[in-house]
């Protein structure tokens, strides 16, 4: 993740709708190599081009992942201060990360220009949908309402 061009990690590089939808995946990516506490996860997600998420977005997403069993949390002593809650990827979380990465790769192939050939063809022949279809009627209150530009 350090090889991504992130001149200013505080601001998102991707459209905000993508950032919102893929934040859980970005969290799993952040935890792939080592356990991290909340603030470190925020910095790591920022380095992925998602912008450093505010606590109000990050912790509910962490709680949902924890509830789903993809990550576990435990209190560990802080290096120089109070104890911190550290998050670790579970086996189920690793499976989910691998599956979602694979789906995104397929999606990217499916969206590639037709001239790029084989990737598009293989995506077209796939019998199953590449990614879960979005909500048929996005909420107009607090729902996705911008294009991130």
């Amino acid at each position: 993740m350090s090889d991504l061009p992130t001149p200013d990690a505080a601001h998102p590089r991707w459209p905000s709708t993508w950032v919102r939808a893929l934040l859980p995946l970005a969290i799993l990516v952040s935890l792939e190599e080592r356990p991290l506490h909340g603030y470190a996860i925020a910095q790591s997600v920022g380095a992925l081009g998602f912008g450093v998420p505010k606590g109000g977005s990050l912790y509910p997403a962490l709680a949902r992942l924890e509830e789903a069993g993809t990550i576990v949390a435990q209190w560990v002593p802080g290096p120089s201060g109070p104890a911190r809650r550290e998050y670790t990827l579970t086996a189920s979380g690793r499976e989910r990360l691998a599956a979602e990465r694979s789906r995104l790769t397929e999606l990217s192939s499916a969206l590639a220009p037709a001239s790029s050939g084989s990737a598009r063809t293989s995506a077209d022949s796939s019998p199953t949908p590449m990614i879960e279809s979005p909500s048929p009627h996005p909420s107009t209150i607090g729902g996705p309402d911008d294009d991130g530009s």
Binding site: H37, G38, Y39, A42, K54, G55, G56, L58, Y59, P60, A63, R64, E67, G69, G81, P82, R84, R85, S135, P136, H137, S139, T140, I141, G142, G143
Partner: protein
């Protein structure tokens, strides 16, 4: 599309008793006119009712459905293929509103004085019906005590019990935001004991001092319409603040300034209260979430308000813990079943351990509460396994 319309026609036949209300009418009209098919209104009505049962404020639910009606109008498709089943769509909307942390939910059990008075009288009417039923069964099947005469104490009993129930709910709802759960349970238990003792004292006093109005057993049924009529009169005469002319809930400039300068201690206190009011998080989970939030804000060098937004909105975003409610309900119904069992045994001992109708109602309630306890215990176990 034709198949979808056929589904609509079938679902329309199932909606036999329609609730009413201005919001419901407006939503139904919007869906009817979206593509000129009456059946679409049924989908909308069911979705609106479901959202209200999910505690979404009715004006917000109405807005969501008006937007959905616009989509139906654009697509000229039946709402079912567009959005799925009304219950699923409504649940999804409520979940999305919670996830984005919009404070658009209301708890119907948080009552003001007017709602408390109306609810007490309404519940008293319902309890009167149960009392009449109990007397009727006693009369029909030859209970030992025979028909009970109508006394002032008897007439007041449903009202006193209903008042106790409403006070209990009020105490629970007001203390749960301030204290840890075991303290809340202890306070509620104290209210039950004191309330039951107080009601019994009032009834005994009335029995001793006032002359009985000796009427036949059938007259007790009159308590049902009497309390129902009182409910209607109070609801009509005592107008809700929102209905009163000139009532507006605009924020004052001071309130806006106060919310923009919420310090971390005040934020934590309000977030703690909001998290506790949800009823589905343990005290340990609430403590953990707040400790973590404070640590994060300290590391980021910003305030809790900057990092997490409004405390109430933030508290809505934390996902539900499916274990907490199931565990608490299991314990609640198990305790209730034990109490009814104790009453059934006491009644049986009173009747000399012979078969008696006085044992039947508490015994039935033991079964009902026991079944509820088992059902919640299974939900609890499923939630634990899933996590």
């Amino acid at each position: 599309m034709m198949e979808a319309d056929h589904d609509d026609a079938r679902s329309r036949t199932h909606v036999t008793e329609r609730p009413t209300g201005p919001e419901l009418s407006r939503v139904a009209r919007a869906f009817q006119s979206a593509r000129g098919i009456d059946g679409d209104a049924d989908w909308a009505e069911l979705a609106l009712i479901r959202m209200v049962f999910e505690d979404v404020r009715i004006d917000v639910a109405e807005k969501q459905l008006m937007d959905a009606a616009a989509t139906v109008s654009e697509a000229q498709e039946s709402p079912k293929p567009l959005f799925g089943r009304p219950s699923e769509w409504a649940d999804q909307q409520a979940e999305e509103l919670r996830e984005v942390g919009l404070d658009v939910f209301e708890d119907p059990l948080v009552m003001g004085l007017r709602e408390g008075a109306v609810t007490t009288l309404g519940v008293a009417s319902g309890l009167s019906a149960l009392f009449f039923l109990s007397q009727l069964l006693d009369l029909l099947f030859g209970g030992d005590a025979g028909p009970t005469d109508l006394t002032i104490g008897f007439a007041l009993m449903p009202l006193l019990l209903a008042a106790l129930l409403v006070v209990l709910i009020a105490v629970y709802k007001r203390t749960v935001a301030r204290f840890r759960f075991p303290i809340v349970v202890a306070l509620c238990a104290a209210v039950v004991v004191l309330g039951a003792g107080g009601a019994a004292s009032i009834l005994m006093l009335l029995e001793q001092r006032s002359p009985d109005v000796h009427l036949t057993c059938g007259w007790s049924i009159l308590l049902v319409p009497l309390y129902a009529a009182l409910t209607w009169v109070v609801a009509k005469l005592w107008r809700a603040p929102a209905d009163a002319p000139g009532h507006e809930e605009n924020l004052t400039p001071q309130q806006i300034l106060d919310s923009a300068h919420l310090d971390d201690n005040a934020w934590t206190a309000r977030a703690r209260a909001a998290l506790r009011r949800r009823d589905d998080l343990t005290d340990a989970r609430v403590d953990a979430a707040l400790t973590e939030a404070r640590a994060h804000a300290a590391e980021a060098g910003s305030s809790l308000l900057e990092e997490f937004g409004s405390p109430e909105g933030c508290s809505l975003k934390i996902p539900k813990d499916p274990r907490t409610v199931a565990r608490r309900m299991t314990v609640f119904f198990a305790v209730l079943a034990l109490l009814w069992l104790a009453l059934a045994l006491a009644n049986a001992a009173d009747a000399g351990w012979a078969l008696s109708w006085s044992v039947a109602p508490p015994a039935l309630l033991v079964i009902v509460c026991g079944a509820q306890a088992v059902w919640h215990a299974r939900t609890w176990r499923r939630a634990v396994r899933a996590s």
